[in-house]
């Protein structure tokens, strides 16, 4: 099934102007609470190429999470230029950002962020539902993904009936559902024991080898070592 053709206008092959999936130029983010202004990001330049595996590291409070939110289009920068696969993101409205999150970004969170009342299958199905994919295609796609993350036999379990590692694999399947441009993982092993964490890392590596662009935020040096490239953030700047 060619999901690329199904979901996107510009397919995987047409990367941005300089071949980057993510291209950030002088990105700033200022939180203005009225009394105090907090400069979380002070001019970030970042480029992630198609098929890269990049780790973003840095101490807590360095602006990692803020950067993650901006890359994931969950938040908008105060200043600077952000292109996702060549397309200008700054200045888009809420609905357009929602669509970008739906089609082009796959989130993997530290605390999984699965909906507890519905089955693993339905969790993975959700982005397809928002993307307006037909019922038949949704079924096929979810089944395919659950096999990919080795959870075909647990498809109809609720998240509470799964182990942490299994939950994170469901979340990864969900992130892959719409065949995004990039997988954005925020401390994906932070809530897992060592062996589950290793499993997840291997899964990421497999995905990367199959051509998925990966961006992982972590403060785990072991994880950062696995990445092709490490970007360190300190005090809102790329170090």
């Amino acid at each position: 099934m060619n999901l690329k053709r199904m979901f996107k206008q510009n397919g995987n092959g047409t990367a941005g102007a300089n071949g980057a999936v993510i291209h950030m130029n002088d990105i700033t983010k200022i939180y203005d609470t009225g009394k105090i202004k907090v400069e979380a990001l002070r001019g970030i330049d970042l480029a992630v190429k198609q098929g890269e595996f990049v780790a973003i590291v840095g101490p807590s409070g360095s602006g990692k999470s803020t950067l993650m939110n901006l890359i994931g289009c969950l938040d908008t920068p105060t200043g600077g230029d952000y292109r996702l696969r060549g397309e200008q993101v700054s200045g888009l409205g809420r609905d357009q950002l929602a669509d970008i999150r739906n089609r082009r970004i796959g989130f993997v969170f530290q605390n999984f962020n699965l909906l507890p009342q519905i089955s693993a299958f339905e969790n993975v199905e959700m982005p397809l539902l928002f993307g307006g994919v037909s019922r038949k295609r949704r079924r096929a796609r979810v089944t395919e993904l659950m096999e990919k993350v080795n959870l075909a036999d647990r498809m109809h379990h609720k998240p509470t009936e799964l182990s942490g590692g299994q939950m994170q694999r469901v979340a990864i399947a969900r992130a892959l559902a719409m065949d995004p441009d990039i997988i954005l993982a925020d401390e994906p092993t932070g809530n897992l024991d060592t062996s589950s964490g290793t499993d997840i890392l291997s899964l990421f590596e497999d995905l990367w080898r199959q051509g998925t662009t990966m961006l992982i935020i972590t403060h785990d040096p072991a994880m950062a070592k696995r990445a092709q490239r490490t970007v360190e953030i300190r005090d809102g700047l790329v170090n």
């Binding site: 969950l74 938040d75 669509d99 739906n102 089609r103 962020n113 909906l115 539902l129 928002f130």
Partner: protein, 410 residues
């Protein structure tokens, strides 16, 4: 739309996780809906009952009694008696353009004799249209007076139901012969029981009716006691009354504006008053019911606020993976409408039940038959829909405006 079923599932899940609150809210809505629709239904029933009671006297009739003039006119002093005969009524029939039906009425108390039993009975001599105008409907097996009876001065008699019972007891009166002032009369019909709240010479159930021609021949009475008529439509009644006055004034030489010469009882005026009264009454009932419903709506809004608050994280996650504000808003609105519709249906069901119970319990005479008309249902559903939308709107909008980053952290 493939999204609907999963939204529905979500809705039921949310509502069942809030059982107590949902039950209480539902109760408020059921109560509100039942209150609005019941009050309106009872208002309707009462109106129908009042109309029915008034209709006992007649359907939009005007009763006119010729009397004494009170204004001098063309050299004639006041206090002159206006006397009308059958010919005047015929003149009105011929000249008037606004009158639909008219009948003279001669009346007197006559001796009614059945075998050895003798009693005094109020008897009216009337024309055929009188029966329909005054709602004198024959019960099965009988009939009212017909044109041949009047033309041929037949000695036939139509009896009020109470009088018939007094005279004949359990026996069937139709086909029997009684004597009026010594002359034999054939009973052709008995009035079907009716509710009559007002009258001018005793309730119809205690009276007897014979053809006016026969009456005049029997009693020698020349002048009509009163005549009744209906206008072509109820709105034209006032104009018809003025027309009648002018035709008769021209002939009998009295001032057409003399309110004493012809004394008029326009029963449509009462009807109009009653309609106005009922309108105000219904408005009052509707307002009371609506306020109850508004209170129910506040309950719904409250429960939806709680739902949104409890689901903030979930909404955040959904937004992160691509739910648009609109779909979040739609989900909450749908849930609100589901509760509202459920409450509304139950409430309307209760009303329908009560509407069915009242006649069965024999309470019709006291409160009328409450009717759940399509109008009542439409008003209730419209009100309920508006309240549901409003109740859902604010929580739903709050949900749609959540910041996904903040929402996911809650």
């Amino acid at each position: 739309m493939p999204i609907l079923p999963s939204f529905l599932r979500q809705a039921f899940r949310d509502l069942s996780s809030q059982k107590l609150r949902t039950t209480l809210t539902l109760f408020g809505l059921v109560w509100g809906t039942a209150a609005v629709s019941l009050l309106l239904a009872f208002g309707n029933g009462l109106h129908t009952q009042l109309v029915k009671n008034t209709a006992g006297l007649g359907n939009g009739i005007v009763i006119t009694w010729p009397s004494l003039t009170s204004i001098p006119f063309e050299g004639l002093g006041k206090g002159r008696r206006i006397l009308l005969t059958e010919r005047d009524v015929d003149l009105l029939k011929k000249r008037s353009t606004l009158i639909d039906a008219i009948s003279a009425e001669f009346s007197e108390t006559l001796r009614l004799q059945n075998g050895s039993q003798v009693r005094a009975a109020g008897v009216s001599g009337v024309d055929v249209p009188f029966g329909e105008m005054r709602n004198l409907i024959a019960r099965e097996g009988g009939r009212f007076l017909n044109p041949l009876d009047v033309m041929n001065r037949r000695r036939v008699l139509f009896l009020g139901n109470e009088l018939a019972e007094n005279v004949f007891g359990e026996e069937e009166p139709v086909g029997r012969t009684v004597k009026l002032n010594g002359s034999p009369f054939l009973v052709v019909g008995v009035m079907k029981k009716k509710i009559q709240e007002s009258n001018y010479s005793g309730p119809d159930r205690r009276r007897a009716y014979i053809p006016e021609t026969t009456f005049r021949a029997l009693t020698g009475q020349e002048y009509v006691d009163q005549f009744i008529y209906t206008a072509r439509s109820v709105d034209q009644t006032e104009a018809a009354t003025a027309e009648v006055a002018s035709i008769l004034a021209a002939k009998h030489r009295f001032d057409p504006g003399d309110e004493e010469a012809l004394q008029v009882w326009d029963t449509t005026g009462m009807m109009q008053f009653m309609n106005n009264f009922m309108l105000i009454f219904n408005l009052f009932l509707g307002t009371v019911g609506s306020l109850t419903l508004v209170v129910g709506g506040i309950g719904v809004s409250n429960i939806m606020n709680v739902v949104v608050e409890e689901r903030t994280r979930e909404i955040g996650i959904k937004m992160a993976i691509g739910a648009r504000g609109r779909s979040v808003l739609g989900g909450i609105m749908l849930e609100t409408l589901i509760i509202t519709a459920a409450g509304g249906l139950l409430g309307i069901g209760i009303t329908a039940g009560i509407c069915a119970l009242v006649p069965a319990a024999g309470l019709t005479d006291f409160v009328g038959d409450p009717k759940l008309t399509s109008g009542v249902a439409a008003v209730t559903i419209g009100l309920l829909g508006a309240i549901g939308m409003l109740a859902g709107w604010f929580p739903a909008r709050a949900a749609a405006r959540l910041d996904p980053v903040v929402a996911m952290k809650s």
